[in-house]
Amino acid sequence: MDLEGLYQEIILDHYKHPRGKGELTSPLAEVHHVNPTCGDEITVQIATDPAGHLLVGYQGLGCSISQASASVMSELVNGNSIEVAETARAAFVDMMHAQGSGEPNEEILGDGIAFAGVAKYPARVKCALLPWMALRDAQIQANLAESEEG
């Protein structure tokens, strides 16, 4: 079976040991997204530190893919600049729409490259994107986005 391509060790590790999960004390914005097909839920909070870097908190309920994706997102975005966050999101979204072709950039995506195999399962792409779409909406609400497109 092709399952190992989908469920990389890295993904299972993030699923079992989520990084950065929890609530922010004073978020600038909080959004709640669901995947209406399967009921996966995520709440993403956003704020900035004194240096203007993003602070991201999240709570979620869902499958290994959506929860691991939230953990990886937190790792890539939390404490980083808006530019870094946007670059990571763009790279992640591109990788999800590449259907398994294309070379994901490990420097930008870090553990996120483990999700390359998910792109071959259209029903799971939504799971992987769920936290990232919530992050984008939270950024927009908090006026912490570079642009509203994407």
């Binding site: 669901v34 209406p36 097909t37 399967c38 399962y121 259209p122 029903a123 799971r124």
Partner: protein, 428 residues
């Protein structure tokens, strides 16, 4: 067969085996495509292939078959949308054009009912006494009765654009018909009974100048000519699959992104929700918001095959071919004493549906004699009863050819009309 350069009809006809059958002991001459078109083999194969290989619930399952089915269904949406120059996310699948027009009409009556109970809705869809809805005197019942119902439920008034004696819209008083009270203007791009092609963009402009929402019934245009939804200037456009070589059981509503987003749901249930609790629900973005329940998957895939076939023949070529058939038919009818066309008598701004009446004969009897000759035509009010009243006829007989018809078919139709006159001895 006389020369018709626009397309290779003989090649087209090989794709429609039904055209080889005979009826009443005569070869079938099918001139009733305005009612419903025949289906090429590729459409039947596409539906069957889906059922044999990938049938599963779309947008619901995560298994391999469900992924294939979802992929096939959503690529059908892309194919059908691009056929009319649209983006897939702006195309809603419905049961038929009638359901698409009802979806549009219910956007108004539902928003009005919700607003009355304090729910927040887009005010453009809230309608009541003092407001007006504008249609025309040549509408198909599908684009008339739903708006009558909105008026009955909300107290709005129905107005209509009248017709000239040659079957064109009478636009002289347009300013007093479409005015500040107008919330919706809905009209057909091409009349199914008169054949008239209407200056839709002009009327949509009039609608927008008073901030009314513009709706177009494109049932009889999209199958027969190249149409880009953006050229019509409408907010919502409805049409059917079965009149454009597709299966029965599917229709389409295109809407501008902005308008679709502003519309409340129509039918509710599975696949169109975002979250559901026992107390309340929120809804998905368009087009899913308007596609409640298990989708007409095979029919979407079948229509996509129809679209690919139409594109392979060429919509410009099909329009030119029908133009030639229409010219031939109009010329032929003008040679038949006692036969009168209801609708434009030349090919300027007109499609291929031609209604006529025969002095001294009821249309039903005309159609019956034509049927006895193997010629299938439609008789009756063509779901445009007010149009019949406008022309003081109880009904008409209508020929409506399509890409697979030949000049010989038209000649067979003309001969059958003459045969009816002879049978009932109404010509001397």
């Amino acid at each position: 067969m006389p020369n018709l350069p626009a397309l290779d009809v003989a090649a087209v006809r090989t794709q429609f085996p039904i055209l080889e059958r005979s009826v009443r002991g005569r070869p079938l001459v099918y001139l009733d495509s305005g009612a419903t078109s025949q289906k090429p083999l590729c459409v039947l194969d596409a539906e069957r292939g889906y059922y044999l290989h990938s049938n599963a619930a779309v947008h619901r399952g995560a298994h391999a078959l469900a992924e294939e089915a979802t992929e096939a269904y959503e690529s059908a949406r892309v194919t059908i949308a691009s056929f009319v120059g649209a983006r897939a996310q702006d195309l809603v699948f419905t049961t038929n054009a009638t359901a698409a027009l009802n979806l549009a009409a219910y956007a108004f009556s539902n928003a009005t009912a919700l607003a009355a109970r304090g729910h927040r809705v887009d005010p453009r869809f809230v309608i009541g006494e003092g407001d007006s809805i504008v249609v025309t005197e040549m509408e198909h019942h599908a684009n008339l009765v739903p708006w009558q119902q909105v008026c009955e439920k909300t107290g709005a008034t129905l107005r209509w654009i009248g017709l000239s004696d040659d079957g064109r819209l009478d636009l002289r008083n347009l300013d007093s018909i479409i005015d500040q009270t107008t919330k919706v203007v809905s009209l057909s791009h091409q009349s199914n009974i008169l054949g008239t092609i209407n200056p839709v963009a002009q009327i949509m402009e009039a609608a927008h100048s008073v901030n009314a929402i513009g709706v177009v019934d494109a049932c009889q245009s999209i199958p027969h000519m190249p149409v880009d939804v953006h050229d019509l200037g409408a907010d919502l456009i409805a049409w059917s699959g079965h009149k454009m070589l597709g299966p029965t059981g599917i229709g389409f509503l295109w809407g501008s992104t902005e308008i679709l987003n502003a519309m409340t749901p129509f039918q509710t249930g599975g696949s169109m929700i975002e979250t559901v609790t026992l107390e309340r629900s929120t809804f998905a973005a368009p087009p899913q918001r308007f596609e409640a329940g298990t989708q007409m998957v095979a029919q979407a895939i079948g229509t996509a095959a129809a679209v690919r076939y139409l594109e392979s023949v060429g919509m410009v070529e099909i329009a030119a071919h029908e133009h030639a058939l229409t010219a031939h038919a109009l010329a032929g009818i003008s040679q038949l004493p006692g036969v009168r066309v209801i609708g434009p008598t030349d090919t300027h701004m007109r499609g291929s549906a031609i209604s006529f009446v025969v002095d001294g004969l009821h249309p039903h009897d005309v159609g019956q004699v034509m049927d006895a000759q193997g010629v299938a035509v439609r008789v009756g009010h063509h779901c445009a009863w007010p149009t019949c009243r406008r022309f003081s006829v109880p009904a008409t007989t209508r020929i409506s050819p399509y890409l697979y018809n030949t000049l010989d078919d038209i000649d067979a139709g003309l001969a059958a009309i003459a045969a009816a006159q002879e049978f009932f001895q109404v010509v001397n």
